[in-house]
């Protein structure tokens, strides 16, 4: 990676202190996310990849707690910021999209209010009227044909694919420098998934740093530039996608990459 990475995570640890013992969800992770690149976090369910993304934003719910590590974003360590300062970072510098697009939006709030809230939280002086045009072209940029109708509609009136695009739009409208996509396409159909990944590639080319969390190696192979394989909260292998696929070192990575072949 040429210049310094936008997001640098150093030996991050997030532990869960539950009744039956400590669960080490994230156990010492080092990670770099470059500008204009897609970095994939791959692992089975329960490997801690989603908890890693929540820890970056310091949105870990009790009984989880971040106990160690630094999270450098554009040269600032988020772990040293107060909750108030962190609120300015969330949404403005780091945006996030989730796995279930239809449930990641408030069912009784129109799309335009969602978009407005994304910007208004960080700049109270803004008024809806003068942001509408910007919203319209952001929706066009993420491939939504008729933005006016969509701005006025409710989340349940949109398909999964459309909802996910609106979530991506919410990331762009505050021109965040990092977008964390937690399993963005696992609950979408194949064709919609291909379209959404196309949008992410376009965002990457426009200079955004994207963290793509997934369990699907097909998505990683066709979309990501670098990849980190995560197992039980630890990074067991990482590097550019072509190198890791060409010569996987760890047994678990080899196992994930093995195609399905039946003994006939």
């Amino acid at each position: 990676m040429s210049e310094t990475p936008v997001l640098q995570i150093r030996s991050l640890k997030t532990y869960f202190y539950t009744k039956n013992g400590v669960v080490k969800a994230v156990d010492g992770v080092d990670l770099d996310v470059g500008k204009g690149r897609i970095t994939a976090l791959v692992g089975g369910s329960g490997s801690g990849k989603s908890m890693l993304s929540m820890s970056v934003m310091n949105l870990v719910e009790k009984p989880g707690r971040i106990i160690d590590g630094q999270v450098w974003l554009n040269g600032r360590d988020l772990r040293t910021l107060s909750e108030k300062e962190l609120k300015d970072v969330r949404g403005k510098e780091i945006a996030m999209i989730f796995q279930e697009p239809t449930s990641a939006m408030n069912p009784v709030l129109k799309v335009k209010n969602h978009l407005f809230e994304a910007v208004h939280t960080h700049d109270k002086k803004l008024r809806m009227r003068d942001k509408l045009d910007e919203f319209r072209d952001v929706l066009l940029r993420v491939g939504l044909g008729n933005p006016d109708k969509i701005l006025e509609s409710y989340p349940f009136e949109l398909s999964g694919g459309m909802c996910q695009r609106v979530m991506v739009a919410m990331g762009i409208v505050t021109n965040a420098s990092v977008l964390i996509a937690d399993e963005p396409t696992s609950s979408l159909d194949l064709t919609t998934q291909a379209a959404i990944l196309e949008e992410l590639l376009r965002l990457k080319d426009a200079g955004m740093a994207i963290v793509l969390i997934t369990h699907d190696l097909g998505v990683v192979a066709q979309t990501a530039d670098d990849m980190y394989v995560i197992k039980d909260g630890k990074v067991i292998e990482s590097g550019p996608v072509c190198d890791v696929f060409a010569s996987p070192q760890q047994a678990y990575t080899k196992f994930l990459m093995e195609p399905i072949a039946l003994l006939r």
């Binding site: 949404g91 996030m96 408030n106 069912p107 009784v108 809230e117």
Partner: protein
Amino acid sequence: MKRFKLIVKRVVQIVPILLIVTLLAFFLSNVSSGDVATVTLQSRGVQPTEQNLAAVREELGLNAPLPVQYINWLKKAVQFDFGISFQTHKPVSEEIFARFPATLKLALAATLMSLVFSIPLALLSARYKDSTADHTIRILSSVGATIPDFWLGLMLLYLFGVVLKIVPVISGSKLSNIFLPAFTLSVAYGATYVRVLRSNLIEVRRFDYMKAARARGLGEGKALAKHGLKNALLPMVTLIGINFGKLLSGQIATETIFSWNGIGKFAVDSMKVKDLPVIQGYIMIVSITYIAINLILDILYMYIDPRIQSD
């Protein structure tokens, strides 16, 4: 428009219910323990002899076959004419409408009071889940939900009336002392609202859109109030509406304790003296208000929750 079709369908559903209400009210006078003619005569202070019994039967049209009687009664009932009250010899509708404002005031005050203290408490205990505040609020609300409103009324009357002597033990329905009866009613309903709203708020926090709101930079409290509250309040609208309907039908016990002469107290007093026209009038008017409120509630719900008119 889709919504209009739903409203029409809802209104059509009411017809069978209204029919049953009228049948119930009508049968009240025919099948009740005393014979209508004798009871009417006694209320007029006339000795029931053979001739005037026959005369009264003729006057009230009791000899006509049952369905015909029902139709005439229905014709009058539609214009809110339920005959004359035996006790006060004034038209029943007048008596009821004179007392309706008192019950309405009480219902409004109780509902408002129950919301005023239940919503903040629910927000507080959902926000700081499993904290001491949460536990105390939960214990308070479960105890509040168990204390029957009539007993609470008696205890409050004893505390304020007898011990502290602030409130006269026998009070008319002046606005000044609406506080006690309204507070009595609001405790029971409010306790239920706290528990329901709290569990809805906790349920709502689990949804992704709350996490997404936090990820957009909203604080925990703001996200809960801005996104969570509305989604949590939606299911409450029906509950509040139904309870308001019940309050409007006159909380008989509370009205009797605080001698608050609303329509509930009036209905029970007339029940004791077998003043049948009043009972018929009460049943008709209360059912109609209750059904009207349910209808308004459904229509209101269609406008509040956008998801309704689409499915």
